[in-house]
Symmetry: C2
Amino acid sequence: MPAKRATSYACPIRDVLDRVGDAWSVLVIMELAGGPCRFNALQRVVNGISARMLSVTLRHLERDGLVSRRVLETSPPQVEYALTTTGASLHRAMGELAAWAETNQPAIREARAAYDASLEAAQ
Amino acid sequence: MPAKRATSYACPIRDVLDRVGDAWSVLVIMELAGGPCRFNALQRVVNGISARMLSVTLRHLERDGLVSRRVLETSPPQVEYALTTTGASLHRAMGELAAWAETNQPAIREARAAYDASLEAAQ
DNA sequence: GTATCTGGTTACCGATCGTAACTTATCCAA
DNA sequence: TTGGATAAGTTACGATCGGTAACCAGATAC
């Protein structure tokens, strides 16, 4: 029995991060914040995501009510994904964290390099 | 053709989330924000984490310069972990997301239940 | 006929995660 | 002096997860 499930109800942060924590979800939300987008268009723009992971990610986000799915009556039928209002509010809440990531990326890279170097020196 | 959206996907968000994305890191950071803490004390307070995952998580955070590790000259020797200034700034940046998680947890639960119910109805 | 577009699904494999057991050492109580 | 508790992890192993490649039907374009 995974501890994950046991604690998620006690901790909203954990509960939300179990879904939003994976990098793909965040990248998809960032992309959809720019406006609705179709499946293949999303895959082209979210660098490195596979069709399977995009499919899985979108279904999770849809289940949590963060993303809506609409089938267009074209031929071949297209599928348009968009943020719901809840999804849009999450995107806004991620803003501060995104800014932090951008300003602190160099510091983190440096720290990693220093740590790895010190380990190598210890050998 | 999909409009090319100007998003930088060598991207810091992804880079940071690869580390911070797992729920354990976040929970440990939240805990350490309350002040320095020893290994076993952390394990008792972070609900459900195993010694192995705590060890792994702390080493990752230390490598990224978000957490410091200090061995106390006691007997038996104790190890005290604390947020660095970078780690503390990350905690501050997570505040908005944490608040979002708390206010939106009910909505997400509801959406999940509705989604699962509609799937079952479709069967 | 063949290539490309649409939105996915399936099979498979290696990395990761969690659980339980083990380690080395010191102190306290019986 | 033997057992238990606490300290901070490490190791082995099985389950689960994420990613890659291949494949599907139907339609349009060349």
